[in-house]
């Protein structure tokens, strides 16, 4: 945090921004609360409750239980029967690693309100915190059967499958995301990364296609540009590649390399593409051979 925020209105606006963009700046949130906003809480009006919730979660993230308890007690006083506050209580148990207590509260909330998506998702994180990834995946897939449009959940499921090296299932999750948002270059890039990691010539081709589309949608996506170079060079040097595609690959690789040079403002990435040609076969870490 470069700028020093001293005015409570600036802090309020910054926190509002972070809430809207779902930023995880927990240390800064707690510091700004302690230094500035806590003394001006009365001036926040109804927004104050949202700020308390935000500071509570940030405090749990920093394991600052004093601030967390203060926020929770204020929220509890104002909204004693609220399911939303009950969920925050469950989060506090989760932060203290009292997972059984947390699960009890969440199950109660879900019983009272079956449409409560946030509580169901917290159950997934409880399993994840304990390293119970299989259970987390099961809980999340059950959740997604009901709440099929939750993109955040599909992305989380994709991450869980990647950690288990279940590439086909991870790819399926990204396919769902691409159906929702076909022009999101990040989803296309992620799909390409999974396909590349799976290995094999056909997956390499698919990866190159998706990297190209991602780079077309956002020529500043560095991962897509590097990925395009990597896949093009691998394809061009593969015996299965017909000569037409080889020429195409070389052109794509050069285009990506130029884009990267422009972004970087230097010629380093031209050097890099010749390094890739040199390094081929030395540092492949994907599952199957690229041949």
């Amino acid at each position: 945090m470069e700028k020093q925020y001293t005015h409570w209105e600036d802090v309020r606006d910054l926190l509002r921004n972070w809430r809207e963009e779902n930023c995880r700046q927990s240390e800064d949130v707690v510091d700004m609360w302690n230094d500035v906003l806590a003394n001006h809480f009365g001036k926040l009006g109804d927004e104050g409750w949202l700020v308390l919730e935000q500071v509570f979660i940030a405090a749990l993230d920093c394991h600052n239980m004093e601030v967390a308890n203060f926020c929770l007690s204020k929220l509890n006083q104002e909204f004693p029967d609220s399911l939303r506050v009950k969920r925050l209580k469950a989060m506090k148990y989760e932060a203290s690693e009292k997972y059984d207590h947390a699960l009890d509260i969440l199950d109660l909330i879900i019983k009272k309100d079956e449409t409560n998506a946030a509580s169901r998702k917290r159950k997934v994180t409880i399993y994840k915190s304990q390293g119970m990834i299989i259970e987390a995946i099961k809980e999340l897939t059950d959740y997604l059967r009901i709440f099929m449009a939750d993109q955040e959940a599909w992305m989380e499921l994709c991450d869980l499958y990647i950690s288990q090296q279940e590439w086909n299932k991870a790819a399926f999750c990204v396919e769902e995301l691409m159906l929702h948002s076909p022009f999101n270059h990040l989803y296309l890039q992620r799909y390409a990364e999974i396909k590349y990691t799976q290995g094999g010539y056909e997956n390499l081709e698919v990866a190159r296609t998706y990297y190209s589309q991602a780079a077309k949608l956002n020529p500043k996506n560095v991962r897509a540009l590097y990925g395009l170079m990597l896949t093009s060079v691998h394809m061009a040097s593969n015996s299965k590649c017909p000569s037409q595609k080889k020429k195409e690959s070389i052109k794509l690789s050069e285009w990506a390399s130029n884009q990267l040079s422009q972004l970087q403002g230097s010629n380093d990435s031209k050097l890099f593409s010749s390094q890739i040609l040199e390094g081929l076969g030395n540092l492949q870490i994907g599952n199957d051979s690229k041949n």
């Binding site: 304990q130 950690s163 090296q165 590097y226 972004l263 540092l283 870490i285």
Partner: protein
């Protein structure tokens, strides 16, 4: 015949700063040693932080390793080890991805070490090194005893130095390879940080 393993203050500081910048995700990185190092007693002189998202995906890992390899050749270094911190606070075992990457490193540098961060021992005032080391030799993973693993110049000086860096919140300007991929002008070598650490 137990082989010894040493970590420079610079490498150790970078590992801890990386962990502090992204406390909520898994992180990983590689460890560098001087070219021609004896793999029986290796000294890691530097660390390059890699990722904090999707550590299991291959393409950006390959890109990173190629760039680091190229840097190493100009600086007279080699990729000789790997470090990792798990996402879950209690997790103390290396995951399959870490093992695979380290086995790959061991193909070029025998007896490569996998340094694991013990999340529970991390704190703003560091009192313990919070690292455990396993080494890949003869196709097997063996845990290294604490007496065969040292931080230079000595554990206490390193801990004090790191605690001072943490109190200045230097982890906020620390750059890993993922940060570089998000903004290509960010320096994954953290050259400006190096002078503050030495």
């Amino acid at each position: 015949m137990a082989s010894s393993c040493e970590l420079s203050k610079l490498a150790y500081s970078k590992i801890i700063l990386h962990a502090f910048k992204y406390p909520h995700t898994a992180i990983n990185g590689v460890l560098l040693a001087n070219e021609g190092s004896n793999s029986q007693s290796v000294k890691y002189v530097d660390a390059i932080p890699l990722f904090h998202h999707n550590l299991g995906l291959a393409p950006m890992l390959e890109v990173a390793l190629m760039q680091i390899d190229s840097y190493c050749r100009t600086a007279g270094l080699v990729i000789a080890g790997y470090y990792h911190a798990s996402e879950a606070v209690a997790e103390m075992n290396p995951d399959p991805v870490s093992q695979k990457i380290c086995e790959k490193i061991a193909e070029y540098f025998p007896n490569a070490c996998l340094v694991l961060i013990n999340n529970r021992l991390l704190s703003k005032q560091m009192t313990q090194t919070s690292l455990s080391v396993i080494q890949y030799s003869d196709g097997k993973w063996k845990v290294k005893d604490k007496e065969n693993f040292k931080i230079l110049p000595n554990n206490e000086a390193a801990l004090n130095s790191v605690s001072s860096l943490l109190s200045k919140k230097l982890y906020k300007t620390f750059v890993d390879f993922d940060d570089h991929l998000d903004d290509i002008h960010q320096d994954w070598l953290n050259v400006s940080l190096k002078s503050m650490i030495d």
